[in-house]
């Protein structure tokens, strides 16, 4: 059934692996209230409780939970989304190695929106503008890269961009196949091929 032709756009759900990974990125937080008996979460501090004013990098999912209602913590944007990097991205977004910067750049960015406070609008624009800047070259390379090059081309892309890149490649290949009148050829299931390959390499 994986042969279905439609490519649903990325839309995270409760079970989305990507989303779980993205929400695990760290966000700098400051405790505004004391959290009793949770001192062990701060490897540098030795106290039993997490005192008011403790600065700690918390995963995004936790930061959001604590910042939302009772404002147990206050958050800062991770440095990738702060002024300095924003300038770099504005200067020439297409050249930035987004993967090293933040492998889940766009997705994390969206999760940060409620935490960004007054910077929210800027952050939102940054996400849109960055993708807009980079999209053309992603599309271009995904359709015009040799199989060997594809790996290096991908290495500087964030997760969302990668899925766009791969979708582009697959569509391109399917189109090629169709042009060469080979689209109707029945092939061995992808999983079966992979499975046989693995079995073969285990044997030899």
């Amino acid at each position: 059934m994986s042969a279905a032709l439609h490519y649903p756009s990325y839309y995270p759900s409760y079970f989305s692996i990507e989303d779980i990974l993205a929400t695990n990125e760290k966000v700098p937080c400051k405790f505004e209230k004391t959290a009793c008996d949770l001192g062990f979460l701060d490897p540098s501090g030795g106290s039993k409780d997490l005192e008011v004013g403790t600065k700690l990098e918390l995963p995004c999912w936790l930061a959001r939970a604590l910042a939302s209602r009772r404002q147990i913590v206050s958050c800062q944007l991770p440095k990738t989304f702060r002024e300095r990097y924003r300038e770099i991205l504005k200067a020439d977004a297409a050249l930035v190695d987004l993967h090293t910067l933040s492998p889940h750049f766009y997705e994390l960015g969206q999760h940060l929106l409620p935490l960004a406070g007054p910077e929210g609008t800027t952050l939102g624009l940054l996400l849109v503008e960055t993708l807009r800047e980079r999209l053309r070259s992603i599309m271009d390379t995904s359709l015009n890269t040799t199989e060997d090059d594809a790996g290096t081309r991908q290495s500087k892309l964030d997760q969302l961009e990668r899925s766009l890149f791969l979708t582009g490649r697959k569509t391109f290949r399917d189109h090629q196949l169709w042009l060469s009148r080979r689209a109707h050829i029945v092939t061995t299931s992808y999983m079966v091929t992979q499975h046989n390959k693995r079995k073969f390499s285990e044997v030899s």
Binding site: L21, D37, R69, R70, M191, H195, R198
Partner: protein, 194 residues
């Protein structure tokens, strides 16, 4: 940090793309469940205190609860994504999985797979009035009734249509009705020649 074990499960799935299915990681699941129980008990205790008026416990309760939710999400996502892959395998390998893949399924997953098989089969049977429609066939738009195929491994005698059998021996070439040999191509026994 809390919920780190649970994340390991997710990372494990993330690493093993390409349709692979790693062995069911019961060990980590147990550890996550233990963490959850500990968090829960600590919260029970603090909730008791809080109920008695100690509002300073609220932040910790809140934090632990978030971790409990996160753990639950990771566990369910782990199960869900594994089932997704197992489901995909039904369409790729057919109703019987290769032994080494079966070995990586836990018992409830095997049961789920069987139930899925049954449900799918009865759905396909219910289509139309005359015996249903096999949806695992016809994966590509048909161009020819017959196709030339090559046999990739020794498979032995095989019935093409009623009464008509062919011996499928490695490196032999055959011209056969596509509808009949479709699933053997999907399973990697035959290869369609262009």
């Amino acid at each position: 940090m809390l919920s780190e074990k649970a994340l390991e499960l997710i990372k494990e799935l993330d690493r093993s793309k390409d349709g692979k299915l790693p062995a069911f990681n019961e060990d980590i699941i147990r550890k996550v469940l233990e963490e959850m129980n500990t968090l829960f008990q600590q919260n029970q205790r603090d909730v008791g205190e809080a109920a008695a008026g100690e509002i300073r416990y609220f932040p910790s309760i809140h934090l632990r609860h978030a971790a409990l939710d996160r753990n639950k999400r990771c566990l369910l996502a782990y199960l869900y994504n594994r089932l997704e892959r197992i489901r995909a395998m039904r369409w790729e390998f057919g109703s019987i999985l290769p032994a080494d893949i079966r070995a990586n399924l836990c018992e409830p997953e095997t049961q789920w797979f069987n139930r899925y098989n049954k449900n799918l089969a009865s759905y396909m049977r219910s289509l139309g009035e005359a015996g249903g429609l096999d949806l695992t066939q016809d994966t590509k738009p048909p161009k020819n009734l017959y196709v030339e195929v090559r046999c990739l491994r020794d498979y032995g005698e095989w019935e093409v249509e009623e009464g008509d059998t062919v011996v499928l021996q490695k490196d032999t070439t055959h011209y056969l009705p596509l509808a009949a040999c479709h699933h053997l191509i999907r399973q990697g026994v035959l290869e369609q020649v262009e």
